[in-house]
């Protein structure tokens, strides 16, 4: 089982990328579990727009007993989708929400029941507290990949995430698998991301072009692989999926 966490600055395109990666893995014949670790609970939306997941935190809040099946929605390509959910904006503790959701998934035996070949944790933004580092821990992700563009704030966030991974290295937590460049076509973009990769001693495992195809698919609430499977972007996601898997072998 490959357990992979994708981190990156808010708005950098993590959920879109992770959903397309999930679809690409599924296309390769792999069983995929995608876990959205974001209080907005929109990580997996593109995979099942007509049947939104009930976030785990909502199920917990409702009280009573609920089953593993209540937490998991099967989406495009047979991808098993889970949303951690979280408190209303401005209230509560989003990190605590991730903790509770991941603990509940483990408690209900999600990994044993669905036996995924690949688990993808789509984690909100920077590592801001213990809850957001939870997917890095032993027993969760084995590898962390950071999605970044060449924009300064995205690079700054990526550096912080890499620091967190390094901080926890002695504890047997996830290793840094590498960077994924999601191009925004800013000046010196590839060069800046390569500089970052050198600083954090991690490879750039793949790159995605900026493309209207991604936006057009998202406008129809679909992944690129579902809506435009023959497009060049679909090919880029497939190549990225192979590259991520290869990097996660290490």
């Amino acid at each position: 089982m490959k357990k992979i966490a994708i981190y990156g600055k808010g708005g950098i395109g993590k959920s879109t990328t992770v959903s397309n990666l999930a679809a690409a893995f599924a296309e390769m014949g792999l069983r995929v579990l995608q876990i959205g670790c974001d209080p907005k609970a929109d990580s997996t939306f593109l995979l099942h727009p007509d049947r939104p997941s009930v976030p785990v935190l909502d199920l917990i809040r409702r009280g009573g007993n609920f089953s593993l099946g209540d937490m998991v929605t099967e989406g495009f390509g047979g991808v098993f989708c889970v949303e951690a959910g979280g408190p209303a904006p401005g209230t509560g503790c989003a990190g605590r929400g991730i903790i509770a959701a991941l603990e509940k998934l483990a408690e209900k035996g999600a990994y044993e029941v669905y036996r995924p070949d690949v688990v993808l944790y789509d984690v909100l933004g920077d590592v801001v507290c213990g809850g957001f580092s939870m997917p890095m821990r032993e027993g969760y992700a084995d590898h962390v990949f950071i999605l970044t563009s060449g924009e300064n704030m995205a690079i700054h966030a990526a550096a912080n995430i890499a620091m967190a991974v390094e901080h926890f290295a002695g504890r047997g937590y996830a290793r840094l698998g590498g960077l994924i460049l999601n191009r925004r076509n800013v000046p010196r973009e590839a060069e800046k991301v390569e500089e970052l990769a050198g600083d954090i001693h991690a490879p750039v495992v793949g790159a995605l072009d900026w493309s209207e195809t991604v936006q057009r698919a998202a406008d129809e609430n679909k992944t690129v692989l579902e809506r435009f499977p023959e497009s060049g972007m679909a090919g880029e996601y497939r190549a990225l999926a192979r590259a991520v898997l290869a990097a996660a072998e290490g």
């Binding site: 503790c93 990190g95 903790i99 213990g130 809850g131 939870m134 821990r137 032993e138 027993g139």
Partner: protein
């Protein structure tokens, strides 16, 4: 403004809902505690040390308990302050704090019970890392994860969790087919207990953590092939040991119903291959003791509480069926085992009062029922009586009361209490009275 003194929060059993007769409110904690707390229970492991890691405000209760028990030499704390939350490395803080404590001791304990608190769970402290590091650093010490997490008590009973963790250090050993344990109770069943007689008749030995004097004796409990639990909060311990060590678990709940007692005794005989006992003489002895107690009490009303026995409704029913006057049952809720007795009492004695112990109005209710006989510390406190049987969790005078023998002994204790007043206040003001650690 509500005058709580004029508010009786009690209900008749006819009005009461099962299993929760009262709505949740702000809770009042009376000075009469009754059962043991997590410190008392944990201290049952010989040669162990407890380390509590939490904010100083939360430490107060457990420190006082340890001091009251005279067990401060087996107790340490790691205080968490606000800057620790801001700095955020709870894992290193726990590892360093525990290491400092252990390195400062002339002699290392055989076992450490490390109690984490609510804040560790709020911030998702990586306890796997903490315990892994401590075990590598102190390979001769057994570390058990324990929890002081009152904020989680509605999702996982701290009491049941503690009783489960009490046996977490047991490791697989070659099983002895004729060895059993009583587990999860604060007092070991009396020597004359019906269960002990059956074990003895089949040539079995029975251990109990309350009788262990050394850590090795404690570890040897893993040799048993059968564990018997008698209270609901001990069941998770029995289930966990069955899963982890393969020790068969038999739940034989405290009961005051003769037919149920016979059924439970048969379950034990079947489990260990003992002959089915003839219980007629024991049943008659229980009846005789009840008649004598009834004669001694006359019309003296009896009040019971849930800390005295996990089946207060079953006990109330037994007493009512034998001509006693039962006035009040103090309980905030009932266990599933009580359903049949609840239904019986509703139908036959609908006026029986059920009174809460944690409702704020109980703080100011009159405590002037001095001619009542109380069974249990909370019943004694709320009635204000000195006619008092100090039954805690089904045990009295250091012996657990179970089955016919338990009924007879309890009846005898009730007769004694009717005849002789005790200094209730001095007894119930001690937490975990009777703790034998």
């Amino acid at each position: 403004m509500i005058d709580l003194r004029k508010t009786d929060p009690g209900v008749t059993i006819a009005e009461a809902a099962f299993p929760a007769p009262f709505a949740g409110t702000l809770e009042y904690a009376s000075p009469a505690r009754g059962p043991w707390n997590i410190v008392h229970v944990g201290m049952l492991i010989p040669e162990s040390r407890q380390i509590f890691a939490c904010a100083e405000g939360c430490l107060r209760g457990v420190v006082l308990t340890a001091a009251e028990m005279g067990a401060m030499d087996r107790f340490s704390t790691v205080a968490i302050e606000e800057h620790d939350v801001l700095d955020g490395d709870f894992e290193e803080m726990l590892v360093d704090g525990v290491s400092d404590i252990l390195n400062g001791l002339q002699e290392k304990p055989r076992a450490v019970l490390l109690f984490t608190s609510c804040i560790h769970h709020f911030v998702a402290c990586d306890l796997g890392y903490v315990y892994g590091t401590l075990r590598r650093r102190f390979p001769d010490v057994d570390f058990t994860d324990c929890y002081m997490t009152p904020i989680l008590r509605q999702t996982s009973s701290p009491d049941a969790l503690m009783r489960r963790q009490l046996y977490a250090a047991l490791r697989p050993m070659a099983p002895d087919p004729h060895r059993a344990n009583f587990i999860g109770g604060a007092t070991s069943p009396a020597a004359s207990c019906d269960l002990r007689e059956i074990f003895a008749s089949a040539g079995w030995t029975v251990g109990d953590i309350t009788e262990c004097k050394t850590y090795d004796e404690y570890l040897a409990m893993a040799k048993a092939s059968l564990n018997v639990t008698m209270i609901p909060s001990a069941k998770p311990a029995g289930e966990e040991l069955e899963r982890r060590l393969g020790q068969r678990h038999l739940y034989l709940p405290v009961s005051y119903d003769y037919n149920e007692i016979d059924t439970l005794l048969c379950a034990l005989t079947e489990a260990i291959g003992a002959p089915v006992p003839d219980t007629r003489a024991k049943r008659e002895a229980a009846e005789t003791a009840l008649r004598q107690a009834r004669g001694t009490l006359g019309g003296m009303p009896v009040a019971l509480d849930y800390t005295a026995t996990t089946r207060p409704l079953g006990l109330a029913r037994l007493l009512l069926e034998h001509g006693f006057t039962v006035s009040d049952v103090y309980a905030d809720g009932f266990t599933a085992d009580e359903r049949a007795d609840f239904d019986w009492l509703r139908e036959r004695v609908p006026s029986l009062r059920v009174r809460p112990t944690v409702h704020p109005a109980m703080r100011v209710q009159p405590r002037d029922h001095t001619e009542t006989l109380a069974v249990g510390q909370k019943a004694a406190y709320f009635t204000g009586t000195n006619h008092f049987v100090n039954l805690v969790e089904g045990g009295a005078d250091g012996a657990g009361l179970w089955g016919y023998d338990g009924v007879a002994r309890l009846a005898s204790l009730m007769a004694d209490a009717a005849r002789t007043e005790q200094d209730t206040r001095s007894i119930i003001s001690v937490k975990g009275w009777g703790c034998c650690c």
